[in-house]
Structure formats: C-alpha cells, structure tokens
C-alpha cells in the first residue's frame, strides 16, 4: 500500500463520520438511482468494516464531505475524462472529498443485464476511489482493490490484506473488524507474475 505525499487523512474527531452525497446535476440515468445508492452503500461499508469511520448519505451535496458525480470530458478540475475506457474515474486525497466517475463508461451493477464488452463494474471502481478519498494511493499488489487497473467485465470489490493494513495504519482498526479468508491474496497469480 502507499499514501499520498504528506500522508493526508481526514482529521475529524472520533468517532468519525463522513457524509457523502451525489451530485444533483451530474448523474447517469440508465441505472436506477436506488441501485447506485446501494452500490455506494456497500462500497463504503467495506472500508467502514476495517476502520472506525462511519459513512452516511446526505441530501445536501454542497456541505457533504464526499461529493460524488459522473462527468464527461473536461469537467473543470484539470483532469479531463477521455471517453470509453482509458481512465475510468478519479478522486482527490483527504480532505478534499471530490469523487468523479467518467460518464462515458458503460457502468454496470449487474453484468448479466449489461451485455456490453466494455461494461465496467461500478461497485469495484467505487470501492477503489473511496480508498483514495480516505488517503490511500495506488498499490503494487495486483489483487488489492487499490491496484490501478481494472479489466472490463471484471469485479474487484473485496478489500485485501494490503488495503486493510494501509487504511488501518491511517485510521486505526474497527474494534469489530474480523480477519477473513477473503482478505488473503491470490498467491498463485502473484507467483505467476513474479516468475
């Protein structure tokens, strides 16, 4: 795992609660809003299970700690999106909270329903970008959520040990956190890469 320069993190008092909101004007319309909200609830819950940080959705976009939206091309932050595939999303380090997804992607919450060859799993990308929002940079561990690339029609939703160790070093451990086998890395694929 890695951190941004200066190792920034959210500095609210404990127990920490971060609010998040979806842009009222910059969303996609081909996935039901309730499904998008469920996807993000699950993505935030994964990180929350590892660290003593709660996430709560708010309707007030402008006062939310984390602002989520789908944008196309140049959207004013100096990092324009590039259409289908290429760059999928980006998010800013703490305590900025901006979380942008490329509206041009074929976002999917269910590959059985979304037949596009270039469909991208929204929940996997959401989980990755929340890692950036919390202060994690890209990991070199291929199986980690914080590895920078994601193939189309692929899911990478579950935190790995590398992700958990990184975020717990920033915020401490959730007292209810339990180690599970899903945290383990796929050592067979890692070994193949090293070979």
């Amino acid at each position: 795992y890695a951190y941004f320069y200066g190792r920034p993190r959210w500095m609210k008092t404990s127990p920490m609660t971060l609010s998040y909101a979806f842009s009222p004007n910059s969303m996609i319309d081909y996935i039901d809003a309730s499904e998008i909200r469920s996807v993000f609830q699950r993505a935030f819950a994964r990180w929350s299970s590892a660290i003593p940080v709660n996430f709560t959705e708010t309707e007030d976009y402008f006062t939310a700690d984390i602002k989520i939206g789908f944008y196309s091309g140049d959207h004013g932050d100096g990092e324009p999106f590039d259409g289908v595939l290429g760059v999928l999303a980006h998010a800013f380090s703490p305590e900025n909270g901006r979380f942008h997804l490329d509206a041009a992607e074929a976002w999917s919450v269910d590959f059985d329903e979304e037949g596009s060859k270039v469909a991208v799993d929204l929940e996997s990308v959401a989980t990755h970008e929340i890692g950036h929002v919390l202060g994690l940079a890209h990991s070199s561990v291929k199986d980690a959520v914080m590895y920078p690339s994601l193939s189309p029609r692929t899911k990478k939703r579950d935190l790995k040990l590398d992700d958990v160790e990184g975020v717990q070093a920033l915020y401490g451990s959730n007292p209810n956190f339990k180690y599970t086998s899903s945290l383990e890395h796929d050592t067979s694929s890692s070994n193949r890469r090293r070979t």
Partner: protein
C-alpha cells in the same frame, strides 16, 4: 507474428474505443527504436507519474527516459522487469484504469488538500 492471432490485437479489437488501444503497435519496441506514436506512450507515462518532467516535447524515439519509465512501471506494478514493451507490459498499459498517478509527487494537482 500473425497479428490476427495476437491476443493483444484481439483485445484492442474488442475495445475499439479504448483510449490506449493504438499502443498495440509499439509491442516489442526497445531502447533505440523509433515508432510513430511512441510520444503518446511517453505522455501516458508522464500522466501516471513515471516521467515527472512537465511540458516536454516528446519524440517518437525510445530513449533512456522512456526506458527508465518502463522499468519503473514494471517494478511498481509487479511486472517482469525487462525495460521493453513486452506483451505483459503492453497488456497492462492498455487496460482501463484509475486516473490518479501511480507514483506520489508533491506537485500533482490531484494530490492537493483543500487548505
């Protein structure tokens, strides 16, 4: 090489709109070679933190700076460290990815805090 049977070419064909599918023609290029489009690959490496010099007029020549970027990219992402644009490296480069830089610098616009 029969390009029609190359898995990388098949991948590129599958993802016609992929911003980086044109990089497939750079496969197997190594230091000293010159291929049209190499400058775009240098921009890719600059964007993701492997060529930190800003506003450089990139050439299509596979120079030492590009070799260094390829080596750092391969080391950082757990790829075989060859310094060349081999199959595995190009496959990784062409995958869709997060827009954040891989290597942390203190001057990237995306790494600022809101102070």
């Amino acid at each position: 090489r029969i390009l029609q049977q190359d898995p990388l070419t098949e991948l590129a064909a599958d993802i016609q709109n992929n911003t980086w599918h044109a990089f497939v023609k750079l496969i197997d290029a190594g230091k000293g070679s010159q291929v049209t489009g190499m400058s775009e690959l240098k921009k890719y490496f600059q964007r993701f933190g492997y060529m930190p010099i800003p506003d450089q007029n990139f050439t299509d020549f596979f120079d030492e700076d590009l070799e260094s970027a390829v080596l750092n990219y391969q080391k950082n992402l757990g790829l075989p460290v060859t310094g060349k644009l081999d199959d595995e490296t190009m496959n990784e480069i062409m995958l869709p990815r997060c827009g954040m830089s891989d290597l942390v610098h203190d001057h990237s616009s995306l790494h600022t805090t809101k102070n």
